[in-house]
């Protein structure tokens, strides 16, 4: 019955959309009265007692933004009305000094993080004491500051939340991270998504409160006068459409920012909230990108502060169905979709450059893409020249060693040869063993051949020689330690290099 009552109340709100706000305030007055039936009486008595003195203030608050936005097109007015509604509810909550988080949570759900997330947050978090009279429960986000401060804050918070409302009306209501109004509507009625410190009954109350909030806010949002019965679904449909329409190109960021905004509310830090609200306010006055940026910042801070589970859930929420790589804008960086993509691209490329740095010798201390590219180009060119040089050597050497090639291909020597190749970098003791096994005649011939070529080692070596000689010298040193003439063959080919 209370639910029905809640359902009925939004109807007048729908019909009164864009009309006198006092009437809406009256509606507001009606709805809280029904609440005590649903909620813990003690909490709501408080709220009811203290709500009356603030009704006038509320109406003033509500009226002022509406008047200011009277000329604004429908979506803006929707936001305004919604903001006012939320503000009213929030202020009522604030003024009521509700110790129970249910009231505050339900009122604050539009502006807070998703209840599902809140639930988990609540499980993990400790109630943050907010300066003021309210023993703030975890998810109570509105400050218990003196009332004069509340309107401004409420307005800011309302605006802040309303921005999120457009994109994903009550994403927090969603169970499994779906940011859809339809789902959220369903959630209002079904689930205990709210994170409530007091389990059981409070959850139920908060749920119903959420329902009321949902209804009211939904009604506010829909410019078309729709019946209360059907508008839930219609809300979801239209709102879903609206949500999709608005942040088309930047669905990721906006949804993400929305979630981040909502998540931030769950932190329960006044400073953060106010700063967020201020930023959100300024953002709304500015362009949507700024808002996203601020919310991205907030999101980053929140991520740093909170547990990873929330982050992951929030991150999963706005993930579009396409195969996008979800990106977060970092603090102090632009959140334009193009710039985000550019940044992702740059980061990927820099990652690969680091990997290339490991591959290319002597590039450990080089920083900068241009220099690295130069080094890489030089290295690749030197390697290719080496291959050419070695192929020429092989072309000349091969005919002489037909027999040895077949021997090499045979199983006897293949393993050893491969072993030598594999251990070429290291002091190749097996190599020397293999060399010793060879007949001496070729060695002597190579010695004669190579003795003249010692001097040519330094001649004719181009750029590649710098790299070539490093390995060569290491090998030569090893050779000189054991058998010098072995490597004269290599030096002998320097002459052939000159022919190049």
């Amino acid at each position: 019955m209370e639910k029905d009552g809640f359902f009925n109340t939004p109807q007048p709100w729908n019909s009164l959309f864009g009309m006198e706000l006092e009437s809406q305030v009256n509606e507001m007055n009606c709805s809280p009265e029904q609440l005590p039936n649903c909620f813990l009486s003690r909490n709501w008595d408080h709220s009811m007692d203290q709500s009356d003195p603030f009704e006038s203030a509320l109406s003033s608050i509500v009226s002022s933004p509406v008047n200011s936005h009277s000329g604004v097109p429908i979506p803006a007015s929707e936001n305004v009305v919604l903001k006012e509604l939320i503000g009213r509810l929030g202020s009522i909550c604030n003024s009521g000094e509700i110790s129970n988080s249910t009231n505050t949570s339900c009122y604050n759900t539009p502006m807070n993080s998703p209840p599902k997330l809140n639930l988990s947050i609540m499980d993990h978090q400790i109630p943050v004491p907010i300066p003021g009279s309210l023993p703030i429960p975890r998810n109570h986000q509105l400050p218990p500051a003196p009332f004069p401060a509340d309107p401004g804050f409420v307005e800011r918070a309302a605006r802040f939340s309303s921005f999120g409302m457009n994109e994903s009306e009550f994403p927090h209501m969603v169970e499994s991270g779906k940011v859809s109004r339809r789902v959220s509507n369903k959630q209002c009625f079904k689930t205990t998504e709210l994170s409530i410190p007091i389990p059981g009954s409070d959850k139920k109350f908060s749920r119903e409160l959420d329902n009321s909030m949902e209804e009211s806010s939904l009604s506010e949002q829909i410019p078309i006068g729709e019946t209360g019965n059907g508008y839930k679904g219609q809300n979801s449909n239209s709102n879903g459409r609206k949500r999709k329409a608005i942040p088309k190109g930047k669905g990721k960021e906006t949804q993400f920012s929305t979630v981040s905004a909502i998540d931030n509310k769950t932190i329960g830090e006044l400073e953060k909230e106010e700063s967020d609200a201020k930023r959100s306010k300024s953002g709304e006055e500015g362009n949507g990108m700024e808002k996203e940026k601020e919310k991205e910042k907030i999101k980053e801070e929140w991520n740093r502060n909170q547990n990873q589970k929330q982050t992951k859930e929030a991150a999963k929420l706005p993930e579009p169905p396409k195969d996008y790589i979800h990106v977060r804008a970092r603090r102090g960086q632009a959140t334009d979709s193009h710039s985000l993509a550019e940044r992702v691209r740059r980061e990927k490329i820099s990652e690969r450059m680091k990997f290339l740095q490991d591959l290319v010798p002597g590039c450990n201390k080089v920083t900068g893409k241009a220099i690295m590219l130069d080094e890489i180009i030089n290295y690749v060119q030197s390697l290719q020249r080496q291959v050419e040089f070695l192929s020429m050597k092989l072309a000349t050497i091969n005919p002489r060693t037909d027999m040895n090639m077949e021997a090499l291909l045979s199983k006897d020597t293949r393993a050893s040869m491969l072993n030598t190749m594999n251990h070429l970098d290291a002091p190749a003791q097996p190599f020397y063993g293999l060399v010793h096994a060879r007949p001496e005649n070729p060695l002597t011939s190579m010695m004669h051949h190579g003795s003249n070529m010692k001097s040519s080692q330094t001649h004719g070596f181009g750029e590649a020689s710098a790299f070539w000689e490093n390995d060569l010298q290491s090998v030569v040193q090893m050779g000189f330690q054991n058998q010098g003439p072995i490597f004269h063959g290599i030096m002998g080919t320097g002459q052939m290099k000159v022919e190049l």
Binding site: A341, L373, V380, K393, L394, T396, I397, M421
Partner: protein, 158 residues
């Protein structure tokens, strides 16, 4: 090797082994097909070119079609052999990584262009793929050079 996103499926030693196998087989066939008339400079030059092609082909075949550069190398070889065989079939080689156009306006200028010319098959890649292909290409080139060095050493001694 440092961790990277690209799959380092072949470790260097196996790469070297496989390359050595194929390269030696190619050299053997080269030696058998061509007689020992290598003293002529022209013939030696052509022979060296064949050896070079053999080495690149062997390395590309070891890598297979995993990387774009190996595919490009093999495709070039096949096309060349086909052209030599008077096959007039013209097939356009598609971009193996069809992605959206790279946003980099300086793509075809400067150092990246040089790198694209050096790495086979990297003309139509975006920068990120180019980096990956370059890394793999460098790795394989290093292995190739090492194996050839060892072969030269062995051949020169024996």
């Amino acid at each position: 090797m440092s961790p990277s996103q690209q799959p380092t499926s072949t470790n260097p030693s196996s790469l070297k082994n496989q390359f050595a196998h194929r390269f030696i087989r190619a050299l053997k066939t080269l030696n058998h097909t061509k007689t020992g008339a290598a003293h002529d400079h022209n013939q030696m030059y052509r022979r060296s070119i064949r050896v070079k092609i053999a080495s690149y082909t062997a390395m590309a075949s070891v890598v297979g079609s995993r990387r774009a550069w190996s595919r490009a190398v093999l495709w070039k070889i096949i096309k060349r052999s086909r052209n030599q065989g008077l096959l007039l079939r013209k097939r356009k080689r598609r971009n193996p990584n069809p992605k959206r156009e790279d946003f980099n306006p300086f793509r075809n200028s400067g150092q990246e262009l040089k790198l694209r010319k050096l790495v086979p098959g990297a003309e139509t890649m975006d920068s990120w793929c180019l980096m990956g292909e370059t890394a793999d290409y460098i790795k394989c080139l290093v292995a190739q050079v090492e194996v050839m060095k060892t072969l030269v050493d062995l051949y020169s001694i024996t």
